[in-house]
Symmetry: C2
Subunit: 251 residues, 2 copies
């Protein structure tokens, strides 16, 4: 396929590399920030555009990989006469935001968190696909199967639920890592001391359901230990309240 | 060293194996449940005892590796004339609970979560040591260095803070994995879809501080996305409240 990549952030970067790696061609990379577009376009062997009027109307696929709240802004600016399908890559944005701006449209959502500096094995990333019709879905699915071994269908509502689940399991879990780092820092201990424990906790749920491997004082209803923890957290009422709330839920 | 192991749970099992692996000898394994003591004692080449009166008074070390709230109960029952040092392995229990029951005493706390079925590389586990005096500390530290490359000193208060930090970063993080699993289940999606994301989130903090890699709608103050998430969670008021609370903290 010949694709145009609209965006130059983490998702655009990793998806662009995966597409080129699978033998597809990126014709153009668009970003409102020309320098960003240029940097990515160079690595993908693509043309750089900083103006959506310069978009190639004959590509097979237009991938809007920008921040969730900027998708519609980009879609609105697309020329009317594009030949190919338009897709976005977001978890929380309904497919229908593209309906007024393209004949064929869809979503290609990689369920992973990306950092520019860190390579990922794209073939292991679950890829959610959704499209406006059977034919479009067939084409998008074929492309997705070139990129990943874990392609699955899901509608916009399911995709949103996946995004919410990811907020809990990842964004919120990371916030708890940050709370742990603060507690250790307060007591002059290094965050490095609990890194093996964090990794082991994540690795445990790779083969088990989380509820089957829940440990800690709350699940044991070990009140004596929880009281000691609350006493230690005593100087921070918000943390005390949070500790009580989560422990109550676990119990 | 010749040691007596008081306990037959996960910590006792992994610590016992590591001691034997490092060339030390486990003379006896005690458990109030004789079958448990016997199963572990067999793998360690040790004698089984189900009565603390049968304890060998000439060992170098007595390791109390039982549940936090049972440590004192075991310590109280120890014969007065033990030759060696008595240590416990708990995160949240002060060293001083052993003071009335032994001449030399201390703590050897492995900062890791253990499952009986899963092997761990003990040499990579941070081991906190604390002892009642300089000489005892020297002996305990030497032993700890045989077991792990990551031995560190910490007092009982610091150890408690480490335990609280572990509750947030591990027990509470796992609870958020469980919430994610529930949300996915409600929308007929498999938990397996976010496993790569969970692992990547943990791996990111192996080299970074959590606050430097925080992602998600809350840190971006992406109100539109958060509103969609809250709408999806709407049927569960407790989850809505939790989502708001954690998002507020992150922001």
């Amino acid at each position: 396929m010949e694709a145009v990549l609209l965006g130059s952030g983490n998702v655009a970067t990793h998806l662009g590399r995966a597409l080129v790696g699978a033998g597809h061609r990126i014709k153009q990379v668009y970003s409102p920030t020309l320098a960003h577009a240029r940097a990515l376009a160079e690595t993908l062997g693509a043309e750089t555009i900083a103006d959506l009027n310069a978009i190639d109307a004959n590509a097979d696929l237009y991938i809007i990989a920008v921040k969730d709240d900027a998708i519609e802004t980009v879609a609105v600016q697309l020329p009317a006469a594009l030949r190919g399908m338009v897709v976005h890559t977001a978890g929380s944005v309904a497919m229908t935001v593209l309906a007024a701006h393209a004949a064929d449209y869809g979503v290609l959502y990689p369920v992973q968190t990306f950092s520019k500096a860190k390579a990922v094995d794209f073939s292991a990333i679950p890829l959610a696909v959704e499209a406006s019709g059977e034919a479009a879905l067939g084409r998008l699915e074929a492309l997705a199967n070139d990129l990943s071994k874990r392609v699955f269908h899901c509608d916009s509502r399911q995709r949103l639920s996946l995004h919410v689940a990811a907020v809990f399991a990842c964004n919120f879990a990371n916030h708890f890592y940050a709370i742990a780092a603060d507690i250790l820092d307060t007591h002059r201990l290094d965050f490095d001391l609990i890194r093996p424990l964090i990794l082991e906790t994540a690795q445990k749920v790779m083969e088990h359901q989380p509820k089957d491997v829940q440990t800690g004082p709350a699940i044991r209803n070990d009140i004596q230990t929880m009281e000691k923890h609350l006493e230690l957290l005593g100087e921070d009422p918000a943390l005390v309240a949070l500790y009580r709330l989560i422990s109550e839920r676990i119990r």
